[in-house]
Structures are given as C-alpha cells and as structure tokens.
Symmetry: C4
Subunit: 207 residues, 4 copies
C-alpha cells in the first residue's frame, strides 16, 4: 500500500494534538487581577510550550523517517497507530503536570512522572518504527537503507534521554520538566546526517 493515506492520518493527529493543548490554558473567570492571575499560572505556559515543541520535533523526526518509506504494510501501520496513540494522549499529562506543578510535593512528582513517561513512550514508539524498517527494508527506498541504523540510534538516544527525566521526576518535578525542555531544545538545534541523507535522496528521486 502506498503511504499517502497514512501520511494524512499522521499529519491530522499531530495537528490536532498540538492544537488541542490550547484548551488547557488558564482562563480565570471574573478575575479582578487578571495579569497577576495569568502570570500565576506560568507552569501552564511552560508545559504548553514544551509539549508543543516536543510533539513538533517528533513530527519532524518522524516525517524524516517516513520520507524514506515507499510502501507500508499492516504491521507498520499498526506500529504507527501506537505512536499516534501516545501523541494524542499528550494534552492529558500536560494539563496534569501544569495543574500540580506549584504543589511541589508528592502530587507534583506523580504528574511529572506521568508527563516524562508519556514523552518517553512517544520516543519508544518512534524507535520501534525505525527498528521495524531496519528489519523490513523492502519498505524503504534503496539508497536510504544504509541510513536506517543511524536513524534508529538517533531515535533511541532521544528516548533514553527521558530516563533521567523520569528519575528526576521522583525528586524534583521542576528539574524533570527543565530536562524535557532541554531535550526539545537539543533536538531542535542538533545537526544530523540522517535527514540530510534522506533529503538528498528525495532530491535525487524527484528532481
């Protein structure tokens, strides 16, 4: 099956997940100190920004991977649905982590743990996608096949980066959250040969 329809489903779920985050921004009703009340909810904006950036970066990385895929089978689609499951769930731990951030105690640690775990599970799902392609490279355009292991490693690195975020959540929710933000910044700024090689290939085959 050609991957066009799967692209559309993926783009739809990512677009909706990042846009639904807005529903959890604070809307204090009848405030008589609106500026203060809004600033007081700063964890909501931080959580919104980190979740938006992380899901956006996962989309970039996953789109890079998918640009190499020439056909998909049922098993690959099902693995992709597992990723979409964790992407679609992101607004939920984001809202919880923001709500309990200022609490600073046990409940904030629970929420931070759930948040870091959800981001990590997105990484796990992307990594499983890469590994499936490594072992089923008939789905992938020939010139890109040699790049697959490098892509799988990069994705595994991004996933493992959330292990310290999970551990930190047990001690300091704020530090766990800060690490999640750093991971997003790192991947946003990183230069990697993987998409470059894929882009070159795409240019070869379309131009």
């Amino acid at each position: 099956m050609s991957p066009g329809r799967l692209h559309a489903l993926i783009d739809g779920v990512f677009a909706i997940a990042i846009t639904l985050l807005v529903l959890d921004l604070p809307r204090p009703a009848g405030s008589d100190q609106l500026a203060r009340d809004l600033l007081h909810n700063w964890p909501s904006y931080a959580a919104y920004a980190v979740s938006f950036a992380t899901v956006g970066i996962v989309w970039i990385e996953h789109t890079g991977m998918m640009s190499a895929v020439r056909s998909v089978n049922r098993r690959f689609i099902e693995r992709t649905l597992v990723l979409l499951f964790f992407v679609s769930v992101v607004p939920w731990p984001t809202a919880l982590a923001a709500d309990y951030a200022r609490d600073g105690g046990a409940q904030a640690r629970t929420a931070a743990l759930l948040y870091a775990a959800t981001l990590m599970l997105m990484g796990v799902a992307v990594t499983l996608g890469w590994r499936y392609l490594v072992s089923h490279d008939e789905l992938v355009a020939e010139p890109v096949r040699t790049v697959l292991p490098a892509g799988a490693r990069r994705s595994l690195l991004g996933t493992l980066a959330y292990v310290p975020a999970l551990l930190l959540a047990l001690v300091s929710p704020a530090a766990s959250f800060g690490l999640a933000a750093l991971i997003a910044v790192y991947f946003a700024c990183s230069r990697t040969a993987v998409p470059g090689l894929m882009r070159d290939h795409a240019a070869d085959s379309t131009g």
Copy 2:
C-alpha cells in the same frame, strides 16, 4: 469523481475522533492523592485504549477497501458519511461507558450496551460500503473486483462479533468491554488475503 477529496475528509474525521478521546481522560483537580485518584479511574484508560484501537483498525480496514476504489459517486459518498457519523460519535459512548463502569449495575449495563452498539454500527456502515461496491463494481479497479465479496464477508464477520458483545452488555458490562477489546486484538493480529491482494494490485498499477 475521483476519491481524493473523500480520502481527505475520511482521514480528517478519523484523526479528530481518535484525538478528541483525550478530552475525556480524568483530570482530578486539587487531589491530595493523585496517583490513587488516577488509578481509580482505570476504566477511562481501558475505554480510551479500546476505542482508539477499534477506530484505528476500522481506519486500516476501510483504507484497504478504499485503495481499490477508483471513482466515487454521490450514493457512495453518502454511505461513507454514515460511517463517519458513527466514527465521530465514538467519544460519547466511550466517556459514558467509562463513567459508569464501576457502578456495575443497571446504569453500567445501559452504557455498555450503547458502547457495543456504536462499535457495531461502525461495522455495519463499513459492511454497507463493501456491499455497495460489490453491486457497483464499476467504481473499483478491475483486478480487485473478484476480492470484493471476501472483503464484504470479513467486514460482516467483524460486525457480527459485536452481537455477543451486545448480549453480554445486558449481563456483565466488564465482559462486554473485554470482548470488544478481544475483537480489536483479533483484527489487529489477523492475517487476511484481502488487503494483501489489494496491495499487490496497487503495486501492479503504480510500480
């Protein structure tokens, strides 16, 4: 009319329906035992997962069917809108079934009945789509026409599997729910010649 626009509408509705499910995950406010309160709501996560998986599998099956369709007419689009109606409605019985699951009495049975009925109606709508194609095979690429009856049978089987789920709902909501989960797992794991044959055809006509 070529089916491209219809694909886009279908993918949009499926993507939104599975992503809107997140709005009904429990968000206990001001809890002082967040982990316990979250675990207490386990039926919500189970319902979320089963609904996500079922809608995802319906998308896979329906996309397989649509991959054979070369043109669409008004009557076929209207039948597809009936499917989209039941897909878009899924978050509603999902939330109700989760809310009343622990009640275990008459209200839980009502909610479980509504849930199983909605999943079954998705199956009915997909089956009607297959049957319309069987009787209007001018809409379908020639080499795939012989596969249509097998696709219609598979879809009918998936639909009839919800009859015991409906009956079970009258006795044990949990058992009905478990059966719905099993149907999703069965279809996720099943191997069928139908999409294979369609995929082969697609490969023939594009490669």
Copy 3:
C-alpha cells in the same frame, strides 16, 4: 494558484466541525436512571443528526462545485473562508437549539431561529461561490462552464428552502427543525445533472 491547499483547508474545517458536534451530546453524571436520562435528551441526537447530515451534504455539493475549479484567486479564497466561517459555527446553534428544544416557548423559538439562520447562511455562502464562478469562469475548466448557472440555481433553491424554516421557527421550533431535516433528506436523495456533468468532465480529463 492551484486549488490543492484550499481543498485541504476546506476538508479540515468540515471534518472538524462535524466531529466537534460530539462534544455537545448529553453526558449525565451520576445518573441512577441513565437510559431514561439519555432518552430524555432526544433533541440533542436529532440536532446532532440534522447538523451532521446538513454539513455533510454541503460538503458534497461544494466538493462537486470545486471539482470544476482549476485555479483560485484571492477573492475566491476569501468567499470560501466566509463559507468555512458558517460551517465552523454550526456546533454552536446546534447545541443551543437542542438545549432549548423542550422549553417550547420563546427561548426555543430564538434558538430555532438562530439554527435555521446558520444553515441558511451556509447556503448563501455556497451560492455566492457559484455566482462568483459564473462571473469569473476563467477559474473553471472549459467543458463545465455551461453547467455553472444550473449549479448556482440548485444552490439558491437549497438556500431559499430555509426561508420557510426561518418563518416556522417563529411559530413552532419543532416544525422548523423538521423542515431542516426534510431539506437534508431531499438533497441527500435528489438526482441532479450538475455533479453528473462535472463527474463526466472529470472522467474525460483524467481517464
């Protein structure tokens, strides 16, 4: 500009508008007579069904029109955004009309008036799209240009059908609502030469 991006925006807004309707279905919390409480809210399901069907039919009609459009300009995109505005607003009067339906008095009439007016304004926006194409037929594929006036008339007929629905809303909200349902059924079942001619043309140019 080629119309591909505009198609994507249109399909996205229609898909979201019909799927957001689900958020307004009744979710009685802690009911001890769930079946009765759900049935009691029958106007919500009727409103959901009529709005879904009407928006779906507007999508079919508008997609038929757009299938003739070969390029779009800024003025045409702006007219399309006016249509998308009224499509995106539909869940709002739908929820109000359902909420006040059983009231039967002045508030129900206000809500029914708002509902009929919104559906009519969708029709007005579609009709303005047709009329713009009639007077700017350089945007339309040559063989379909002669069909444009027939399309504009059909769209105007659909719009004027809501005038009695508006008047009825002032007397009997239920009757107004029933007429809106009938209009949807009529357009769903109607046979028209317009999309047929367009489909033939599409077949000519792609097959």
Copy 4:
C-alpha cells in the same frame, strides 16, 4: 525535503484553530431571555469574527509564500512550527478578550494587550519565514526569488500595524480591537503584486 507534508500540517493546524474558536461562543444555560442574553455577549461574536478573519488572512498570505517554496529544510520547518504555535494559541486570548471586554477597566486592558500581542506574534513569525527565504533562496523557485523582498516587506507592514493596536490596548480595549478588525479588513481588501506574481509563476510552471 519536498514541502507536501509541511503543507498538510499547516493546513491542519489552521483548520483546527479557526474551528476550535466555536467552543468559546456563549451558551447560556436555562436562560429565560435567551435573545437578550445572547446579544449581551456581543463581544464574543466580534472576537470570534476578528480572530477567524485574521487567522484566515494569515493562512492566505502564508499559502502565497509557500506556493513559491520548492523544498524545505529543518530550520525552515522549525520556523514554521513557531508560526503554528501562535496560530494554535489564538483561541485563548480571543476567549479572554471577549470575556473581559465589557469590564472596560484594567482587566479588559490586560486581555486586549494579550490579544493584540498574539496577533502581532503571528505576524512576526510569518515575517521571519519570509526573511529566512530571502537569505536561503535556494529553497524557492527561481522566477519568484526577486519577489521575496516585497513579500517580506508586506508581512513586516502587517506586523507593525499591531504596534498601535498594542498601545491602544493600554488606553481603550475597544479601540485596540477595532484596529485589529481594520487590519483584517485592509489585508482582505488589499491588492498586492506579490501573490499575483507568484500565481503567474505557478501558472507558468503548471499550465
């Protein structure tokens, strides 16, 4: 990388953002003067209309820009995600500005400031996209490269127009809001050579 997937993500986020606005329209429950209560909330409709129009116009302008882009790189996608961030956030200040509009005092000024700032930040993000293309014109189809500086200027003009809207928000929220509406009307009605030149180029390369 070819820009097709990025188009899909952009169109998805814009479509969802403008459709989610409907969730904040007033739904007075159990009103016994529905017409009066609905009219009383007129700032909500004004805010809905201005936000819808502004996001719609940003979509038109941005789609015009993207029609010139032949390939995208990681840095460009990231800049586009910044735009999508501000687009997805629009329903939030829209709801706040509408809620506090009638207050007329300090809270209304805070909300109006947030609203004007969000619209301005959309403009900033679009302008940064243009400037990135000016300095990386290898991403752009050759014949359109000369038009890029004009596009960047037009986008900068649209952004700077929100500076007086920001200042006005500190004095009169209503005036600030009126200016935002005027900016939308101006851009809706304006004739610019930029999209025209791009359209001509698109016609050249496809027709």
